[in-house]
C-alpha cells in the first residue's frame, strides 16, 4: 500500500467547524441554499434570525412595518439609540448583515398582516417562513397560504413569561434522524451466511490466551446464540431464567479474569434477545402508510419506502437493509477489520438490490429511473430503521377542533395544567385584543376589570372548544394580565432559540423536529409539548 499523503488543510470553513461536526457538509449546504422570510422583527424574530445568520443561512428577508421606538431599545439588541424613528426592518437587517457577510440580507418595510392580506403569492419564494408575534386570525390565513405553496412555516411568540413555538408543514420526512440512542444492527441472532461462515472459522475455545481475550463479542454471541437455538428447538432465550442462564454460559467461557471481551459479551447479550425483523413501530407505521403506494406524484422518500417494503418482503427475509457499521469492541485488529468489511459488504449488497428496486419503481410510475441519486439511496438504506415522518395539523383545524380528549387530559393533569392554561390564555388574549383593541394589561390602569374580562373571554373560548366546566387557575389569568403583552428579551431569546433550532432541523432534513405545540413556561420552566 502506498504511503498516504497528509494534504495540508487550511480549511475553508473553519468558521463553521463546530456545527459541521453536527450536520456535516450536506446539512451546511442545505442551509446555504435556504431562503428565509421573517415576519415581525421584534426580539423574538430578530433573535431567531440571528442564530440562523450566524450559522450561514443563504438569504433572509425581514418584513416589519414599524419604526424603532424607545421601548424597542430595552428588549431588542438589533436596534440601538441611533436607530430611533427609523424602520425597524431596515435596522435589524443591517445588524444581521454585519454578523455574516456570506448571507444575503434584505428587508421590506411593510406590516406582515397587510402582506398576508394583499399579497399571498409573496410567500411562495421562500424555503421557510418564520412568523413571530402574529395574532390568531393572521396565523390561520398565513398557514393556508404556506400550505398551498408548500412552504415550511413556523410560528413563534413571546408573551410575558409565556410563549409558544409551532411548526406547520403538511409532511416532513427525515432520513438522517441521528437519534442519540439506537440499538445497533448486528444480526447476532439472525446472521447472514457470510457472518455465520466467518464465525465458524474462529475457534472460540482456542487455547491461545491472547487470541481468546481478543475474540470480539459479535463472534462470541453469534456462536452462542446459534448453539443455544440448536439445543432449544430453534428458539432463543426469552424468559428471565433463560436469559440469566445464557449469561452464565458466556461467563463460563471466560478463562482469565481480565477478558474484557467476555464482559462486553455479557453486557451486549440483550442484543441477542431482541426480536428478529422489523421491531420499530415507527418503521412499521411508515411501511403501512398509504403514501407507500406510490404514483408519479410521490416524493423520492416514498418511492424509496416502496422499494424498502419490497426488499423486506423478498431479499431481506423480513429484515431491513443492513446498516453496515459496528461499534468498537475489544478485539484483535485483524478480526475487527475483517468483521467491519463483512458488515460493509452486506450493507453494500443490500443497497444494490434496493437501488435496483427503486429504479424499477421509478420506471413503473413513469419517472426517470435515475432521478434518485445513489448517494441518497445509500443513505436511505443505512438509515432505514430510523426513518421518520412528521405531519402537522393545519392551524385552522387545531384552533377550531382540537383533540378534545387530549385537551381534557391536559386540563386535569397537574404536570400540564400551567402549560395548557397558557395555551388557552395565549389564544384568549388574541380574542380579547380583537374585542378591545389592546391586549389585557397592555396599558396601565383598571387591572381588575381586565382580569375579569380576560376570564370571561377564556371561559367562552373553552366553551367554544367544547371544554365546559374546566376552570383555569385564577392566578394564571392574573399573571397573563400582568404580562400585558410584554416581549421580554430573555423570553424572546429563549423562544427565538427554540424556533431557530427547529428551522435548522427542517432545512437540513436531519434530526427530528418537534411535534405539536411547544408551550414555554417561564415561571418554573416546566414547559410542555401539547398535541392538539
Amino acid at each position: 500500500m502506498a504511503e498516504p499523503k497528509a494534504e495540508p488543510k487550511p480549511e475553508p470553513k473553519t468558521k463553521y467547524d463546530r456545527q459541521l461536526r453536527i450536520w456535516g457538509e450536506q446539512g451546511q449546504s442545505a442551509l446555504e441554499k435556504a431562503s428565509i422570510c421573517l415576519l415581525n422583527c421584534g426580539p423574538t424574530g430578530s433573535e431567531t434570525l440571528k442564530n440562523l445568520v450566524l450559522g450561514g443561512i443563504g438569504s433572509i428577508t425581514v418584513v416589519d412595518g414599524s419604526k424603532v421606538e424607545n421601548g424597542d431599545l430595552g428588549n431588542n439588541f438589533m436596534v440601538s439609540e441611533s436607530n430611533l424613528g427609523q424602520p425597524k426592518a431596515k435596522c435589524v437587517c443591517a445588524f444581521l448583515q454585519e454578523l455574516n457577510d456570506a448571507v444575503k440580507a434584505k428587508f421590506i418595510e411593510e406590516h406582515p398582516v397587510t402582506l398576508i392580506d394583499t399579497n399571498p403569492s409573496f410567500f411562495s419564494q421562500f424555503t421557510v417562513v418564520i412568523a413571530t408575534q402574529l395574532v390568531e386570525a393572521s396565523m390561520v390565513k398565513l398557514d393556508r397560504i404556506c400550505r398551498d405553496a408548500n412552504v415550511m412555516l413556523i410560528f413563534a411568540r413571546s408573551y410575558g413569561l409565556s410563549g409558544f413555538v409551532r411548526i406547520s408543514v403538511k409532511e416532513h420526512t427525515v432520513i438522517e434522524s441521528k437519534p442519540d440512542h439506537f440499538l445497533d444492527d448486528l444480526r447476532l441472532n439472525n446472521p447472514w451466511p457470510e457472518l455465520k461462515k466467518f464465525t465458524e472459522s474462529i475457534d472460540l475455545d482456542t487455547s491461545d490466551p491472547v487470541a481468546h481475550k481478543h475474540t470480539p463479542y459479535i463472534l462470541i454471541l453469534v456462536k452462542m446464540a446459534n448453539d443455544w437455538a440448536k439445543a432449544h428447538n430453534g428458539k432463543l432465550p426469552s424468559t428471565r431464567e433463560e436469559k440469566r442462564e445464557f449469561k452464565e454460559l458466556i461467563k463460563a467461557k471466560t478463562i482469565a479474569p481480565d477478558e474484557d471481551n467476555y464482559k462486553e459479551a455479557i453486557e451486549a447479550s440483550f442484543k441477542v434477545f431482541a426480536p428478529q425483523g422489523i421491531s420499530s413501530s415507527n418503521l412499521k407505521r411508515i411501511l403501512d402508510d398509504p403514501c407507500s403506494e406510490v404514483d408519479s406524484c410521490s416524493s423520492d422518500f416514498w418511492v424509496m419506502v416502496a422499494a424498502l417494503k419490497e426488499f423486506i418482503a423478498n431479499e431481506g427475509g423480513g429484515e431491513a437493509p443492513l446498516e453496515g457499521s459496528i461499534p468498537d469492541m475489544t478485539s484483535s485488529t485483524e478480526i475487527y477489520i475483517n468483521l467491519q468489511k463483512l458488515y460493509q459488504a452486506k450493507a453494500e449488497a443490500d443497497f444494490i438490490i434496493v437501488g435496483q428496486r427503486v429504479r424499477d419503481i421509478l420506471k413503473k410510475i413513469g419517472r426517470d429511473p435515475l432521478s434518485i441519486s445513489n448517494d441518497l439511496i445509500k443513505s436511505f438504506c443505512k438509515n432505514a430503521r430510523k426513518l421518520t415522518v412528521c405531519r402537522y395539523k393545519s392551524i385552522e383545524e387545531e384552533f377550531n377542533s382540537p383533540i378534545l380528549p387530549e385537551m381534557q387530559k391536559y386540563l386535569s393533569d397537574e404536570e400540564y395544567s400551567v402549560a395548557v392554561g397558557f395555551y388557552i390564555l395565549l389564544r384568549a388574549v388574541d380574542r380579547f385584543s380583537a374585542n378591545y383593541n389592546a391586549f389585557p394589561g397592555q396599558f396601565d390602569g383598571a387591572m381588575d376589570e381586565e382580569i375579569s374580562r380576560l376570564k370571561t373571554t377564556a371561559v367562552s373560548l373553552l366553551t367554544d372548544l367544547g371544554c365546559n366546566g374546566s376552570p383555569l387557575p385564577e392566578d394564571l389569568i392574573n399573571e397573563m394580565c400582568r404580562y400585558g403583552a410584554a416581549e421580554l428579551h430573555a423570553v424572546a431569546a429563549y423562544i427565538g432559540g427554540v424556533a431557530s433550532q427547529e428551522v435548522i432541523k427542517l432545512i437540513t432534513r436531519q434530526f427530528v423536529p418537534m411535534s405539536g405545540t411547544f408551550i414555554f413556561n417561564g415561571i418554573d420552566h416546566k414547559s410542555q409539548l401539547l398535541s392538539l
Binding site: E11, S80, F511
Partner: protein, 450 residues
C-alpha cells in the same frame, strides 16, 4: 393606535410589566415598584464567567434584563471557529481577548450598561473579587472551571448555630452548559440546592482509551489518532510538549495517524477528526447557546428581583429527537464538604497551626494531608508555589488563636488531599473551630458539628 406611544414609550416598557406590577406566582420577597427596578439597575452586580458561546449571549441577555453593572472574566482570545455562535465577535477581532471585545460590543449597543472585562484566569482573582457580586453566572465548558467557582462561592457560606445556612452569606450561582442540540441550566443556592460537588456524578467521565489498545490492537480512527498524539509524539519529540493550538503539531499527529491507519487498514482518519479527538472538541451551535443563556439570564433576574418563581433546580433541554425539556429537583448531598456546614473542631488556645494540620490528618472524616489553610481572605499556609510556601512557613509555629485575631471561634478553609487509601482525592472543606476556655462559647455553637 400603534404610533400613539411612539415617543412616550419608555425603554423599560416591557420589563416594567414584570417588575412594577404585583402578581400571585412570584417569589416570597417580591416588592414590585420603580424602586425595585432602579435598585437592580444601580446595585445588582453580576459576574459572568466565560465570554464564549454562552457568555456572549448572557451579557446581551442580562444587559437587556435591567442589569447595568456587569463584569465578565475570560482568559481566551477569539478564534475563527467561534464565529458561528459568538455573535459579539467579527472576523477582524480574531486574536483579541474575548472578555474585552464582548464587553465593548454590548456597551456600544445598550446604553447605560457598564461591563468590566477581566482578561485573565479565574484562579488569578482573589476570593474577595468573587464575593463582591450578587450573583455569579457561569457560561463554561469545563468541569474544572465550574468546580473552582463552586468552591469559591461555597467558601463564603456560613451556617448559624442551628446548622442553617445564613442567607446573607449565600452566593447564588446560575450555570449553563451545551453540547450540540442539548443543554442544561441550573440554579445553585449553596446550602439550599445542590452545589456542583453534590451532583458531580452528573458529568460523565471523559472517554479514555486503554494504552494497550492504542499500542497493540487499534481498531478505529480515534485509536490511530490517540496513538500518534499520546505515544508516538513523545517517542519522536523527546521533551517537547505537544501543543494542540500549534497547527504544525496537529498536522504531524494527523500524518502519523494516517500512517498508522494505513498499516492496520483502518478507515476514517481525517484532519477534522484528528482535531476533534485531540482537542476533545464539543460541537456547538448558536441556537442551543441562545436557549440555555436565556434561561440562565431569566433565572438571574428572578433571583435578583423575586418577580417570579425560580427554576428548582435543574433544567435539561434536548432537541435531538423532537423537543424535550425536563426540570429535575436534585437534592443536596448532606455530607457534601463543599457546601455543608463543614467540620467542627475544638482547640486549645495554645495549639499552633502545625498542630491543627496534624489533627486534620487524624480526623477520621478527612484523613487530610498536604494541607493549605486560609482564614477570611488571608492565607495562613500554602503548600505551593514554593515562594508562597516560604512566605507562610513561619505561621506554622504560631498559635492559631493568635492567627485568628484572638476571636473565640471562626471559620477556616482548608484544602488538601483527603479520603481513605485508594480513594484519595483533592478536597476542600470548611473548618469551624472554637477555642476552649474562651468566653463567648455556648453549647449551641457546636450544633451540626462532627
Amino acid at each position: 393606535m400603534a404610533d400613539a406611544g411612539a415617543h412616550q414609550s419608555s425603554r423599560s416598557r416591557d420589563l416594567d410589566k414584570l417588575l412594577l406590577r404585583p402578581g400571585h406566582l412570584v417569589g416570597p420577597a417580591f416588592e414590585p415598584g420603580t424602586e425595585l427596578r432602579d435598585d437592580i439597575q444601580e446595585y445588582a452586580r453580576i459576574l459572568v464567567v466565560g465570554a464564549g458561546g454562552l457568555g456572549c449571549e448572557l451579557l446581551k441577555d442580562l444587559a437587556l434584563s435591567g442589569f447595568r453593572n456587569l463584569e465578565v472574566i475570560d482568559m481566551d482570545r477569539i478564534e475563527v471557529s467561534n464565529l458561528n455562535r459568538q455573535f459579539l465577535f467579527r472576523l477582524e477581532d480574531v486574536g483579541k481577548p474575548k472578555a474585552e471585545v464582548a464587553a465593548k460590543r454590548v456597551m456600544e449597543r445598550v446604553s447605560g450598561v457598564n461591563i468590566v472585562p477581566h482578561f485573565c484566569r479565574i484562579e488569578d482573582k482573589l476570593d474577595e473579587f468573587y464575593s463582591d457580586f450578587m450573583i455569579i453566572v457561569l457560561g463554561l465548558d469545563s468541569i474544572e472551571a465550574r468546580s473552582y467557582i463552586n468552591e469559591v462561592a461555597c467558601s463564603f457560606l456560613e451556617y448559624d448555630s442551628n446548622g442553617n445556612p445564613r442567607e446573607e452569606t449565600m452566593k447564588p450561582m446560575v450555570d449553563g452548559g451545551t453540547e450540540g442540540f442539548k443543554g442544561h441550566a441550573r440554579v445553585i443556592l449553596p446550602g439550599i440546592t445542590p452545589c456542583f460537588q453534590c451532583t458531580i456524578w452528573l458529568f460523565p467521565p471523559q472517554v479514555k482509551y486503554p494504552l494497550c489498545t492504542l499500542a497493540e490492537t487499534p481498531r478505529t480512527a480515534p485509536h490511530c489518532i490517540e496513538y500518534a498524539h499520546l505515544i508516538k509524539w513523545d517517542e519522536v519529540h523527546s521533551g517537547k510538549t505537544f501543543d494542540p493550538d500549534n497547527p504544525q503539531h496537529m498536522q504531524w499527529v494527523y500524518s502519523e495517524a494516517l500512517k498508522r491507519a494505513a498499516l492496520f487498514s483502518i478507515p476514517g482518519v481525517t484532519y477534522t477528526l484528528t482535531q476533534g479527538v485531540v482537542k476533545n472538541i464539543i460541537p456547538a451551535i448558536a441556537s442551543t447557546n441562545a436557549i440555555i443563556s436565556a434561561a440562565c439570564a431569566l433565572e438571574t433576574l428572578k433571583i435578583a428581583s423575586g418577580c417570579s418563581k425560580t427554576l428548582s433546580n435543574y433544567l435539561t433541554y434536548n432537541g435531538v429527537e423532537g423537543l424535550h425539556t425536563k426540570v429535575t429537583e436534585f437534592v443536596r448531598d448532606k455530607e457534601c464538604l463543599m457546601c455543608g456546614p463543614g467540620i467542627f473542631m475544638e482547640l486549645e488556645t495554645s495549639d499552633t497551626l502545625k498542630m491543627l494540620m496534624d489533627k486534620l490528618g487524624d480526623e477520621p472524616q478527612l484523613l487530610m494531608s498536604g494541607v493549605s489553610v486560609k482564614h477570611g481572605g488571608k492565607t495562613l499556609y500554602m503548600q505551593a508555589p514554593p515562594e508562597l510556601e516560604a512566605m507562610t512557613r513561619s505561621n506554622l509555629s504560631i498559635s492559631l488563636f493568635k492567627l485568628m485575631e484572638e476571636s473565640p471561634k471562626g471559620i477556616l478553609h482548608v484544602t488538601g488531599t483527603a479520603g481513605k487509601p485508594g480513594k484519595r482525592q483533592s478536597c476542600s472543606t470548611k473548618l469551624r473551630v472554637a477555642f476552649k476556655g474562651v468566653a463567648g462559647i455556648k453549647d449551641t455553637d457546636m450544633a451540626g458539628g462532627a
